[in-house]
């Protein structure tokens, strides 16, 4: 965030975007909830069409150590794209040093100079867990593993509280799958830098 603020605090702006029905809002909720369980501040907003499925859908999450005052922050630090239209629409909002995480089955980023990580979340969800709907927690896990924006434990707690009781184990397993892939990529990137 801008250094000009009186209280110098780190703040991360994340946008999750895709189609209605992919669990975008739930993913944003889980991320924000984990943010406050970590002891910081978090703010989550959403926008969606009047359709319950199929329309464009996005959820913005701000996680910050300080007071969150800007409801429309100037740029994204992280974009999680789960549809091609979402990527095309929001990639220009990603900061130059931002990170793109995308579902490689659904999104082709083309030639972009941004740091990007693709994983076939919908495919993994279907093949490993037999349920396409857990692609959202795989994506959240991957993004969190990569960026460290929220802790693993808090995310697990937030997921456990948000999903139907019978699906907690499956959702946590899907989350771990994404988290481990993201964390591995994050470690590799840091080692490359060193």
């Amino acid at each position: 965030m801008s250094d000009a603020f009186a209280d110098k605090t780190r703040s991360t702006n994340i946008r999750l975007a895709g189609f209605g029905g992919q669990g975008i809002v739930m993913a944003g909720y889980v991320l924000g909830h984990a943010g406050i369980l970590d002891g910081g501040n978090a703010l989550q907003t959403q926008s969606y069409g009047s359709e319950s499925r199929g329309g464009a859908c996005k959820s913005d999450v701000i996680i910050s150590e300080g007071e969150i005052l800007d409801l429309v922050p100037p740029g994204l630090d992280v974009l999680v794209a789960m549809s091609q239209p979402a990527l095309d629409k929001y990639l220009p909002n990603l900061k130059e040093d931002g990170i793109l995480v995308y579902d490689s089955d659904l999104v082709k980023p083309g030639d972009c100079t941004i740091r990007a990580l693709g994983l076939p979340a919908t495919d993994i969800a279907e093949k490993t867990f037999g349920r396409e709907v857990v692609a959202n927690v795989i994506m959240v896990g991957c993004m969190a593993g990569l960026t460290g924006v929220a802790s693993r434990n808090s995310l697990r707690a937030a997921i456990s509280e948000s999903v139907p009781p019978k699906t907690v184990d499956m959702n946590l397993a899907a989350f771990e799958e994404g988290f481990n892939r993201g964390a591995k990529q994050g470690r590799n990137a840091r080692e490359d830098k060193e």
Partner: protein, 381 residues
């Protein structure tokens, strides 16, 4: 009437933390504030208030009714209140317009009740899913005739909870409908909500006597079914409640009493937040969602040595005119960022002689810090 089961259920929330919507927080504030009756008709962005009440009221032995429309809803709320329940409804723009006549009825019958208006972009169906702050004058003057009004506006999820309790308290103390002027932005964002220790929340009891009342004009509420023959009417009435719709003096004394009971208690009702005001030369006056960007911009300007202050109205009505007049005498300029075309600015202008610069934004997107900051720089350079 709070039952033992309700007390037990609510005290289970003490100290808990949730990642909640503003709408949800407002509903929980109502429950903690003693509300046991909700009547309403769903409307974006207020439906989550109803949804939460529908889910939670059975746990406190309360009642939830979805009505055929907003007119029926507010009528039921007033009826429930007169039958002894702390009662509320929640709506947005078009529904709020429909409720206006019966808000007047609640004023005339001195019936405590709370109306939540989660403001959205209008007029008419406008941008139905987008936030705005364009109902502040409607809240004040939407119902016909001479009257006072009490309206509060939150700027965070926590305040949706805290101020909702205050709305019920004010409503009971002054026997007046209270408007909770939320906006679609605050109602539909999630933040941390921390429940207080419920043992520390003190509620004004229905039918109680308020020792803090400065007017001496408020009598305890009488309710139906409590053994007294009472007459309640929206028509002009004498002290015994019986109609007299022709005598000039009866009407004048009734309506001026309604004015006086609010006006003489202004200091008990008016709340505001001020920061960086000591040496301020320019002040940003704001409320609700727009105040978030306003504070961010003021902090940034302060960081650069600009002498800018922040003044946020929490109570919108009655208006904090004495306070603003005082501020107006010691500064050079006022900026008013708001999500309408200058409704608050116009009201501020009536009480200060310094320039009042509008930093209006409509169209359903709240101000960014950058936008308010740019206005501060432009106006202070």
């Amino acid at each position: 009437m709070e039952t033992a089961r309700a007390r037990q259920y609510l005290s289970g929330l003490s100290g808990k933390m949730r990642f909640a919507l503003g709408d949800e927080a407002a509903a929980y504030g109502a429950l903690v504030g003693g509300c046991i009756f909700f009547a309403g008709y769903p409307i974006t962005p207020a439906s989550e208030v109803a949804e939460t009440m529908a889910q939670e009221l059975p746990h406190v032995d309360g009642y939830f009714v979805q009505f055929e429309d907003e007119i029926g809803s507010i009528a039921a709320v007033i009826g429930a209140a007169r039958a002894g329940a702390k009662a509320m409804t929640a709506t947005s723009g078009p529904g709020f317009s429909l409720m206006m006549e019966n808000i007047g009825y609640a004023i005339m019958t001195e019936t405590p009740c709370v109306v939540v208006d989660v403001q959205r972009s209008g007029p008419s169906t406008g941008q139905a899913t987008k936030p705005a702050q364009g109902d502040i004058l409607q809240a004040r003057w939407g119902t016909h005739g001479d009257h006072e009004m009490i309206a509060l506006a939150p700027n965070s999820v926590q305040e949706c909870f805290d101020l909702m309790i205050a709305c019920f308290d004010l409503s009971e103390r002054y026997r007046h409908p209270v408007i909770f002027l939320m906006d679609g932005e605050i109602g539909h964002l999630r933040e941390r909500l921390t429940f207080p220790n419920l043992a520390d929340v003190h509620l004004f009891p229905r039918g109680g006597f308020d020792p803090a009342d400065e007017s001496g004009l408020i009598k305890p509420v009488r309710e139906y079914g409590k053994g007294e023959a009472i007459h309640i009417t929206g028509s002009t009435h004498k002290e015994d409640g019986m109609r007299d719709v022709v005598s000039q003096d009866v009407h004048e004394s009734l309506i001026t009493r309604f004015y006086a009971k609010i006006d003489r208690n202004r200091k008990n009702i008016i709340r505001y937040e001020e920061r960086f005001m000591e040496d301020a030369e320019t002040v940003v006056v704001c409320f609700g969602a727009a105040s978030r960007a306003a504070l961010g911009a003021v902090k940034r300007a302060r960081n650069e040595g600009r002498k800018v202050g922040y003044f946020r109205l929490i109570t919108i009505w009655p208006f904090c005119q004495e306070k603003l007049a005082g501020i107006g005498r010691r500064i050079n300029k006022i900026l008013v960022p708001e999500m309408n075309l200058g409704q608050l600015a116009r009201e501020v202008e009536r009480f200060v002689s310094v320039p009042v610069v509008r930093v209006s934004k409509i169209g359903g997107v709240p101000h960014s810090v950058e936008e308010v900051y740019a206005a501060i720089v432009r106006e202070t350079s």
